[in-house]
């Protein structure tokens, strides 16, 4: 099956994150994606890269991040490769349902959303001491016909 491939490389800082997100959205603009699949891709990118930027630094060194986006006819595969702190997101449980607003945790929702959006999630720590997270998004029928690609302000 023919797959189109886009590579985005950046430093794992807030500035690098912002620039990479622009590149991702330009890459997604070139594909005839349904709104739900596009939303899922942006959501997964947002949550995974935010984790890398927030928690991946080794001392003062921001991680080198390499994201690959592969488009197939029935799915999109995002691969996140970084040399930050080892982190396997598969072992992180979803937050427990809160009994009350005052007891609710305010973290842990990012990986929950990634797991919901992904049809598969694979992780390896490579021989080169890099995290490699591969996330597959299945194209799906548009539930509401709304675009998820409104421009950032």
């Amino acid at each position: 099956m023919h797959r189109r491939r886009v590579e985005i490389r950046f430093l794992g800082t807030h500035e690098g994150f912002a620039q990479a997100f622009v590149e991702l959205r330009h890459a997604l603009d070139r594909e005839a994606l349904d709104a739900a699949a596009r939303y899922d891709c942006e959501l997964i990118f947002e949550e995974i890269v935010d984790n890398i930027v927030s928690h991946g630094a080794v001392g003062d060194r921001a991680p080198d991040v390499h994201v690959t986006l592969e488009h197939g006819s029935d799915s999109i595969v995002l691969t996140f490769d970084d040399d930050g702190v080892p982190f396997d997101p598969r072992g992180i449980p979803d937050p427990m349902p809160a009994k009350s607003l005052q007891e609710a945790k305010i973290g842990g929702f990012g990986l929950m959303l990634v797991r919901h959006a992904a049809s598969s999630l694979e992780y390896v720590r490579t021989a080169e001491d890099r995290n490699r997270l591969t996330v597959k998004v299945r194209r799906r029928p548009d539930p509401g016909g709304t675009s998820a690609s409104a421009p950032s302000p």
Binding site: Y39, D50, A98, Q102, A104, G107, P143, G144, T146, S152
Partner: protein, 113 residues
């Protein structure tokens, strides 16, 4: 990310959010939104109909503001989410702890409490 405040009547504040509640969007609006709502213990309804993207940062922001309002006798109610945004709200079970309604009328009824 933009924010517009309006009067929904009976002391209820209507907050229209426009744009993306991703990390930069939340960063650009959280301090301002908190400052408008929390010190006065507002009863506020938040119109999400023009929010095209919601990530975990937006969920965290809503929980934080709703909790702070609850301590001051205020209330936060969300309404009007687009389908894909509504899916994020449902996935995170936010509606277990923050009221979410389909439209402004229903949201205002909850805010009046």
């Amino acid at each position: 990310m933009q924010m517009q405040l309006g009067d929904a009547g009976e002391g209820i504040l209507n907050v229209l959010l426009v744009g993306r509640l991703d990390t930069p969007g939340v960063d650009s609006i959280e301090t301002q939104l908190t400052a408008h709502l929390v010190p006065r213990g507002a009863r506020a309804i938040v119109d999400l109909s023009q929010v095209s993207f919601l990530g975990s940062g937006g969920i965290r922001m809503f929980i934080t503001i709703a909790r702070a309002l609850g301590r001051k006798g205020g209330k936060l109610v969300l309404y009007g989410a687009q389908p894909l945004v509504a899916e994020v709200l449902q996935t995170t079970s936010l509606n277990d702890i923050v009221p979410i309604r389909a439209d402004a009328t229903a949201a205002a009824a909850v805010a009046r409490g």
